[in-house]
Symmetry: C2
Subunit: 429 residues, 2 copies
């Protein structure tokens, strides 16, 4: 942890950030001002009023907003990279569920989550939406560890009361709701940087009764929601059978008020969202957490990101650890671009692939806005910043800041992160 | 460089290697014997005859064959990760050709190639097929630097006499052939680990006259050939116009004898190979260098690897630096799997995706066989080996060697490589 005073300081370096999907701003040799944990703007020359702030000279380094992971499963970190020859439903049964069951043991959870949080600190992401497991003590433990890290997180105790192995299934809807209330009451007022998010796993694993209970808790505690939507074809077929009265998978959430609107929600994947579902997502201000690597690993498909963006749907990127193996949202950016190019080539030749700058937007400001003012350096945004030493990604000719950013997206790893700030506080150096 | 005597020694550790496409052999706590630079086999307990060999104890470490990169462009390393919003032909004009022109300056080439070779030593690949540029001095310089590295390489001075910018185009077919002869004569007898490979860039850039000249040189010097085949749709359309009498792109090479048969050849990409072309590839014993990341980055498509494998076509993996950004063939393995899953999902539901073990085969024994007996630890194979310390890819539960291999494929980087041996000689530790 740093000795830098978190309140007021200035970073000097080569600064890049998204102003919008289409607009990347780069200021080479610029000043980024942090005032009370928020950006006070980016300047080519430092305004007089900030002259007294301590300056950190990162000349020649890149300064970028912290990255945002809108979707990951904390207990799955332990087995990332395993079971990659399976599709979603088999993979859940063979790998995800047996591993998640172990988190009833808080000693196991402490060891595994400690390793995860160390990894999260080390990487380029500063904000996360995470799934814990069904277990209240392990979920609280995870939140405690995350709070210590200084990262900004929304974390959720998972709800699931059907269609999953006995050893993991919550015994009834009221019992699941009771545990959820316990978790919410215990976490209330306990954290500065960590907050609870309601986490019905996905429609197949949540009974109607459970959805109703969760909707009540949502209203009482004013909670955001995270879940999964239209990830794989087999899953969608299953949802159709489970919810014959719903016209789309999304409606199975919306009918209970668990799909955006008054309370923000973020839905992972949305690979197979059709016109009606896209409209529902848009109208409810629901966020899409695009998890391209997971969607490749589990043979799910390629989400229609160009259509979402054209429609004005809010979207960011997710690692989906461990459907995806890689936690870095830089990797998710390049995965998103690559996947979009294959979609363009094979599925929809009229949907232009994502550009590098668009992917950068998605992984910063796009997902960041789910947390409020985060993911950019515009004045008033919370001060999440990465200082990147890209000197070892050698080029024998000069590069612009924008070109260096592209190389960092494709080629950097945690060794290149010199400092990482979250809400004005240095969490890695 | 190591002090280990390259002739005879034993590595102890957890050993994995492909015996065939379908068979991975893992020996946990096994002995891998190097005798005169070749494998003398893998044993659960060390045979008496090797008891006098020095032993290196890598208990708990993974020992794998060195990886093989069947396709990369040495001068493009400098700009990997740039220009990723372009497709092939525009990308060549905007990035590849202007950069390659700089290699007429040997000082520039020395700086850039030195940085590349350092990077190659550091990574997991032990064997490479590389393209240099058209320039003879820079091609020889590259080969000198590669020889110093201890890596095993086939490197080629590029030939191109049409359809490329004036500043890079060789002025005539005879002039290109003359330069090629000069390059071959100067490199003859000069290297132990580096050898020349004939490198007509691709059909659009090589006139009929040039192809004829190269065919003569091939026979005289008994050279293997590397080139590009059926990479992108626009390129294929172009080849059709240039070679109206050929029934396929492959025939444009085959008609000159530059497509396998007596002299081995390796063709990069083969994304859009149809039945006839696959038959021609098979009948000529031509190798396919599958470059999945490049094919995504340049929106080219996904090569039909399952069809190649089912037909018995010989195939390995390529980084295609800088169409691909990443040099590690571990990355190419996971890219190949991911791409094959999207092909399965969107293009050919009857072509099963590549498994982890199949991708490992392609990146080791599959490509290695282009170099003779390389890419495996079977007795008699040249001793290329990686010692991997995967202890930092933490799991809170025990893993089999096969599971650890999968994680190394998906998650490792150059930090995990503890030692790298090529032909029995340690080139990195």
């Amino acid at each position: 942890m740093s000795t830098i005073k978190p309140d007021n300081f200035v970073l000097f370096g080569d600064i890049c950030y998204s102003e919008s999907l289409k607009t990347l701003r780069c200021v080479e040799g610029g000043f980024l001002v942090c005032e009370n944990g928020r950006s006070a703007g980016v300047y080519g020359s430092l305004p007089e009023e900030y002259a007294s702030f301590p300056q950190i000279n990162h000349a020649g380094k890149l300064i970028l907003p912290g990255l945002v992971d809108l979707h990951m499963h904390a207990p799955q970190f332990a087995f990332r990279g395993l079971g990659m020859d399976f599709e979603l439903l088999d993979w859940l049964e063979s790998y995800a569920f047996p591993e998640e069951a172990k988190y009833s043991d808080t000693d196991y959870a402490r060891a595994a989550y400690t390793s995860l949080v160390r990894h999260m600190i080390n990487g380029p992401n500063t904000r996360f939406c995470l799934y814990a497991t069904v277990h209240v003590p392990a979920a609280l433990l995870l939140m405690d560890l995350l709070e210590e890290s200084g990262l900004v997180c929304m974390a959720g105790k998972v709800n699931m009361d059907r269609n999953c192995p006995d050893y993991l299934r919550e015994k009834s809807a009221p019992r699941s709701a009771e545990d959820t209330r316990l978790w919410l009451e215990r976490s209330a007022g306990r954290y500065k940087n960590v907050s609870p998010i309601l986490t019905p796993r996905f429609v197949p694993a949540c009974s109607d009764g459970l959805m109703k209970e969760l909707a009540l808790l949502q209203k009482e505690f004013r909670l955001p929601v995270q879940s999964h939507l239209s990830e794989s074809l087999a899953e969608i077929e299953w949802v159709k059978q489970l919810c014959p009265s719903c016209r789309s998978y999304a409606e199975a959430y919306e009918q209970y008020g668990l799909f955006g609107g008054e309370h923000p929600s973020v839905m992972a994947h949305c690979v197979w969202a059709g016109d009606d579902e896209i409209e529902l997502i848009y109208r409810n201000n629901t966020y899409v957490a695009h998890c391209p690597q997971s969607n490749m690993n589990l043979s799910s498909g390629i989400a229609p990101m160009r259509r979402f963006l054209n429609r004005g749907v809010k979207a960011g990127l997710g690692s989906d650890i461990a459907g995806g193996c890689h936690s870095s949202i830089f990797r998710a950016m390049s995965d998103a671009i690559q996947a979009s190019k294959l979609r363009f080539r094979y599925v929809k030749p009229h949907e232009a692939p994502l550009t590098v700058n668009e992917a950068f937007y998605l992984g910063t400001l796009g997902g960041g806005s789910f947390f409020g003012k985060a993911g950019s350096f515009e004045t008033g945004y919370e001060f999440d910043a990465l200082v990147i030493d890209d000197s070892t990604i050698a080029a024998p000719f000069p590069l612009s800041a924008e070109e260096r950013l592209a190389r960092v997206i494709y080629l950097s790893d945690d060794r290149h992160i010199l400092q990482k700030f979250v809400r004005g506080r240095c969490v890695k150096e």
